[in-house]
């Protein structure tokens, strides 16, 4: 992306659009909105661009739906190839809407892969799936691990190839919500975080730039070796990890899989294989450092 000089970015974005590659997917993004241009410039400088005349998976546009409201509570609308899946949002949420929209593009159209609502990180060859049960604090933990040197494959979805059962990286900025924005700012002052968007349906939302190391390895799949259900609990001092049975892990992770029902029996057998190849734990934590230490031991044991 840094092949485009910063001052030419808004022009190209408003014109034929910018084709960004994130793992196997190419998205053509078009928008005249300054917030989108600023967000991309801040969070996507290291991403590879794709040939605009080549094949693009998703053609995405963000625009103000009714020009009459340009000054009175202006709005932003997301469209994919002319299809509008969401209601318009306040203009201040333009950049988060781009990220949510790109997630929707994948989870609604890419049923070639098994898509689990989870974060995925890797170290020393150990791929770890962190299923995102609501309110679990998965993104905070995933961001912290990434900033401590773990490789990020994705913060929102595990993408599993149904034949090889490999974890396919779809590296994108990490979404942080409400308190975890401050937590990560204090955790790593050098972290690059987009300006927060206020009172979205999920409260305050901001996105964290992914270190170059993870982006450079975005074409390198990983193998799952652990499934950890994180749970932030203020009273979990020290952090407590409890093993979870394979059967219950299968059902819990299936419930978090976007296209489990759609892929049917293939998803049942694929998840079973992933569960059987992984150590499965619940991890309750209050202190990020304790959680990270536990993960380091987990990945340390991997190559021990």
């Amino acid at each position: 992306m840094n092949a485009i000089e910063p001052d030419r970015l808004p022009g190209q974005l408003a014109g034929s659009g910018i084709c960004i590659r994130t793992g196997p997917f190419v998205s053509r993004i078009q928008s005249r909105l300054s917030a989108v241009a600023a967000g991309l410039a801040l969070l996507y400088p290291d991403y590879p661009l794709a040939d605009p005349d080549g094949f693009t998976d998703f053609q995405v546009r963000l625009y103000t739906p009714n020009p009459l409201r340009r000054w009175w509570r202006p709005q932003v609308q997301f469209a994919m190839d002319g299809r509008i899946p969401f209601k318009p949002l306040p203009l201040s949420q333009a950049y988060p809407l781009l990220e949510w929209g790109l997630n929707w593009c994948i989870t609604s159209h890419m049923h070639h892969y098994l898509l689990i609502h989870s974060a995925v990180v890797e170290r020393n060859g150990l791929g770890v799936i962190l299923p995102g049960e609501p309110g679990a604090g998965k993104s905070t933990l995933c961001a912290a691990l990434m900033l401590r040197g773990w490789r990020l494959l994705s913060d929102e979805m595990a993408v599993i190839d149904l034949d090889s059962l490999e974890l396919i990286p779809v590296v994108r900025p990490v979404s942080l919500k409400n308190a975890s924005i401050e937590v990560i700012r204090r955790f790593a002052s050098e972290a690059v975080i987009s300006p927060p968007a206020l009172d979205t349906l999920k409260g305050t939302v901001a996105h964290l730039r992914v270190p170059r190391a993870s982006i450079e390895r975005m074409d390198e799949p990983a193998r799952a070796g652990a499934i950890v259900f994180p749970r932030y609990r203020s009273d979990a001092v020290p952090a407590q990890a409890a093993p979870e049975t394979p059967g219950r892990t299968l059902l819990r992770i299936a419930q978090n899989t976007f296209n489990y029902s759609l892929l049917g029996e293939r998803a049942f057998h694929a998840l079973t294989a992933v569960v059987q190849a992984s150590r499965c734990h619940d991890l309750a934590y209050a202190e990020l450092e304790e959680a990270i230490a536990w993960f380091d031991r987990l990945s340390g044991e991997a190559d021990g």
Partner: protein
């Protein structure tokens, strides 16, 4: 501007082998047209039958494979829905006649391969409608339209109950007692349809006869005027006609005769005309006099050709021009006009316009 000749999607559906030589930008447009027309699953299977998928660009393979998985999920759901419907209705010992997509799937027709479905349609004898509705109710299929006007619209004027939705599976079921509304100008006799229905799984599961299936599909498209799935329905028709012409002796004599018998000659004539023109469906020359007789005069025919040429294209920006939206709207009004007498039509259209603004 729209392509002057046939849209890319139609060209590839007519000659799937050409997919092997498509370049990336063509694939990009083709997949988007197919997705908007709800034909991506069909396209994927047609291409897979004649091309070496592994030779296609990897991202293209992913989209086509995804579409086949999506269609396979629909097929599983329809099979299960039909199983549960038969279970709920078994005590009534009433014939359950599957219509449209569910019929093609359960009868194993190639038309169903890669097809997606939005709901399940069944036809039951009118005399048993109340008993069927009650049995479905207690099995969890509840009506979605509590509004009194909607109830009357369906029960008095239409040929079906208000759509039912299953309370747990959220699937939608349409229960018909005819293939055209009571108030329509054409009056096919449901008893004849039921009498000719073929049993595909004893004792209760039936589908319409081959000719009646084609006539129903043609009527649904060219009489009801719902062109949101125009091209998909035309692709169904093309598939049904090719399948039947290949399998049934004297098919081209029985089809027009049955159409005349059921007063459905005009919709069939339109179907044959546009299937041949757009999808290249093989229709023997001998049928030309019959279709000429059944079609309206040259002026109306010219207007319909202009409207249909636009309405039957993929609903995608790359295939539309300034006249596409007006053409679809005119056909929408025509569809309603054919279904409802004038004194009902105007208030109904007004009501729908107001409702969609809410």
């Amino acid at each position: 501007m729209a392509e002057s000749c046939l849209p890319l999607l139609v060209q590839v559906l007519r000659a799937p082998a050409t997919a092997a030589v498509l370049e990336a930008p063509d694939w990009d447009r083709l997949i988007r047209q197919a997705r908007h027309a709800n034909l991506l699953g069909r396209l994927a299977h047609r291409v897979a039958d004649v091309c070496d998928m592994a030779a296609l660009p990897p991202p293209v393979q992913r989209h086509l494979d995804s579409a086949r998985n999506f269609a396979a999920a629909h097929a599983r759901v329809v099979h299960w829905e039909v199983n549960r419907i038969r279970r709920a209705l078994a005590p009534l010992e009433v014939p359950v006649i599957l219509l449209k997509g569910a019929a093609y799937l359960l009868s194993g027709s190639p038309v169903a391969v890669g097809r997606v479905f939005s709901d399940v349609d069944i036809l039951v004898p009118r005399a048993r409608l109340d008993a069927v509705e009650e049995s479905l109710y207690w099995a969890g299929w509840l009506t979605t339209h509590h509004d009194a006007y909607d109830q009357r619209y369906y029960r008095q004027w239409m040929h079906e109950l208000p759509p039912l939705r299953h309370v747990r599976r959220k699937t939608v079921l349409d229960v018909h007692h005819n293939i055209l509304p009571e108030t329509a100008r054409l009056h096919p006799d449901p008893e004849k349809l039921i009498a000719a229905a073929e049993c595909i799984d004893a004792p209760d599961l039936h589908v319409l006869s081959t000719e009646d299936r084609i006539l129903h599909s043609a009527t649904h498209l060219f009489h009801d005027g719902e062109f949101e799935h125009g091209l998909r329905d035309l692709v169904d028709l093309d598939g049904l006609i090719r399948e039947a012409a290949g399998a049934e002796a004297r098919f081209w004599e029985r089809l027009p005769a049955r159409a005349d018998e059921l007063q459905l000659s005009r919709p069939l004539a339109y179907a044959l005309r546009y299937c041949r023109e757009i999808l290249g469906t093989p229709v023997p020359e001998a049928m030309r006099q019959w279709t000429d007789r059944a079609l309206p005069g040259r002026v109306t025919r010219g207007l319909m050709d202009a409207l249909m040429a636009r309405a039957l294209r993929p609903p995608h920006p790359s295939c539309e021009d300034a006249f596409t939206a007006p053409a679809r709207w005119l056909l929408y009004v025509r569809g309603h006009a054919l279904r409802m007498p004038p004194h009902l039509l105007l208030p109904h259209l007004l009501r729908k316009a107001v409702r969609s603004e809410e």
